[in-house]
C-alpha cells in the first residue's frame, strides 16, 4: 500500500507541474511517468494511471484499504487478492511491478519472478525491495547480533509474538544474496538487471527490464 500512495502522490505532482506548464506554453503535453501505472481508459486527476495492489492475504488487503481511506486516497487504486506465483492478471498488462519485503515470503521465488515477467509490458520494469546480505564483516556481525538477540525479544515484549520475529530473521538469512538474486531475475528473462544496496546491504533494491 505504501508504495501505491507514494506513487499516487508522484503522479499528482507531475500532473500539476504539467498543468502549470500547459498554461504557460499553451501546448498539449502528453503525460509521462516512470513509476507504477496500469493503463486504463479513465481520465481523472490521475490521468490514465492506476495502481493495483495485490496480496495473498485478505487481512492485509483490508488493512491496506483502511489505511488508504484514512489517508484520503480514493481513486486510482484497486485491491486484488492474488498469489504472486500465479497472478490473476493477463499478459503484458503493467508498466511497473514492485514488490517490497514480499518476495522473501514466496515459496517459489522463481515462479513469482516468472509471473512478474509475464504480466509486465515490453519495456516494463521490475523492482524489488528486500532484505539482503551485508558484505561488510563488522557490520555483519553487529547486524547478526541485533537480529538474533534483540529483535525476537522486542517482538515478544511489544507484540507478544516471539515466533514471528524469529521467523522474520531466519527468512532474511535464507534469502539469496544480491548477486544470486540478480541471477534469478535474469533467469526469469529480465535484462539490464541491477541492484542498489541500502544501508550497506541490509536492504537492496533490485531492478530489471522486460525487453
Amino acid at each position: 500500500g505504501d508504495i501505491a500512495f507514494r506513487f499516487i502522490n508522484y503522479v499528482r505532482s507531475v500532473r500539476e507541474r504539467q498543468l502549470q506548464q500547459k498554461l504557460k506554453h499553451h501546448q498539449n503535453l502528453s503525460w509521462q511517468e516512470i513509476s507504477e501505472s496500469y493503463q486504463e481508459d479513465k481520465s481523472k486527476s490521475l490521468g490514465n494511471s492506476q495502481v493495483v495492489v495485490c496480496d495473498i492475504n485478505k487481512e492485509m488487503l483490508k488493512v491496506g484499504k483502511q489505511k488508504a481511506q484514512h489517508l484520503g486516497y480514493s481513486e486510482g487504486l484497486s485491491w486484488v487478492l492474488g498469489n504472486a506465483e500465479e497472478l490473476p492478471f493477463d499478459d503484458d498488462k503493467f508498466d511497473v511491478y514492485t514488490i517490497a519485503f514480499g518476495i522473501r515470503n514466496v515459496t517459489r521465488i522463481d515462479l513469482a519472478l516468472q509471473e512478474a515477467y509475464r504480466v509486465l509490458k515490453p519495456g516494463g520494469r521490475f523492482l524489488c525491495l528486500e532484505f539482503s546480505h551485508v558484505s561488510n564483516p563488522l557490520l555483519s556481525r553487529l547486524y547478526d547480533l541485533y537480529s538474533f538477540q534483540v529483535i525476537p525479544v522486542l517482538g515478544e515484549v511489544i507484540a507478544g509474538d516471539w515466533k514471528s520475529y524469529q521467523y522474520l530473521v531466519e527468512s532474511i538469512r535464507r534469502f539469496p544474496p544480491q548477486e544470486e538474486f540478480k541471477a534469478m531475475i535474469e533467469d526469469a528473462g529480465f535484462l539490464k538487471v541491477d541492484y542498489q544496496n541500502l544501508n550497506s546491504g541490509i536492504v537492496a533494491i533490485h531492478s530489471g527490464f522486460k525487453l
Binding site: E33, S37, D91, L120, K121, P122, G123, G124, D187, G189
Partner: protein, 293 residues
Amino acid sequence: VRCQLSPQQRPLQASAVLRRVSDEQKEPLASSSQQQFDSHPTDHQPEQEPQGPRPSYTGQGGQESEDYESEEQLQHRILTAALEFVPEHGWTAEAIAEGAKTLGLSVAAAGMFHSDGSELILHFVSQCNTKLSELLEQEQKLVQLGEAEKKPTDQFLRDAVEARLRMLIPYIEKWPQALSILLLPHNIPSSLNLLTSMIDDIWHYAGDQSTDFNWYTRRAVLTGIYNTTELVMMQDSSPDFEETWRFLENRVADAMNMGNTANQVQSTGEAVVQGLMGAAVTVSNAEISRAVR
C-alpha cells in the same frame, strides 16, 4: 558493453516481437504478447550455454538478423526514437519515455537511462559525428575520383564545421540545456572524447599529415573555433545563422594567419550563455595547456 550471458534466447524473442510490432503497426499487441508467452522457455534449459551477445550485424545467414539484438542496440533505437521528442520535451527522461512508447515499449523503459538525459545527448552527438565523418569521406572520394576540386584548408575547415553545426539546427532551442549537461563532471570524459575525435576526424580529412608539435596546436585551435562558434550560434537570430558563419569565417582566417592563436572569445548575451561559455572555454583552455606543456 555489458555481456549478458544466459538469458540470450529470451530477449531475442522480445526484440523480435517488438520489431514486428513497430514494423507492422496495425498488429495489436495482444497477439504478439501471446507469441511471447508461448515461446517462453520452461525451467529446464539444458541447451542454454553462456554465449556472448550476438548483435545483428553478425546475423544468422543474413535473413533473420532482426531476431538478434543486443541491449545496446535496443537502447540506441530508443534514443534515436526519442530525438523526435526533444524539441518538445527537451533532453529529458520524458523525451526518452516518449521514444520508448513509439517503439511499442512501456514508458518504464526510460528507467534504463540516466535521469538527466545524458545518454540521449551523447547519443545524438555521436550520431552527428558519424554523419559528419560519412560526409567528409564522401567528399574525399569525389576528390580522389577527380570529380571535385580539393578545397583549400581554410575553406575545408569552414565547411566541415558549418556542416556539423547545422545538424544542431532542429534542436537549437534546447541545445544550451544539452551543453550544460555535457559539462557535468560525470559526462565530461565522454563528451570530451566525442569532441576530440570529431576534431581529429576533420583534420584527418583536411589532409593533416603532421607528426610533430603542430598536431596538438591544430587540434586545440580547431576545438577553440568549434566551441566558440557553437556558442555564438546559440545566440544567433539572423536568417539562416549568417552571423554565425561569418564569425566562423573570421575565426578560421585568424587562425590561418596567426598560427598559434588560442581562443578568440566573443560573446554578446545573457548570463546563461556567459556561464556556458566560461565553462566551455575553460575546458578548451585545459586542453590547450595540456597540449602546450
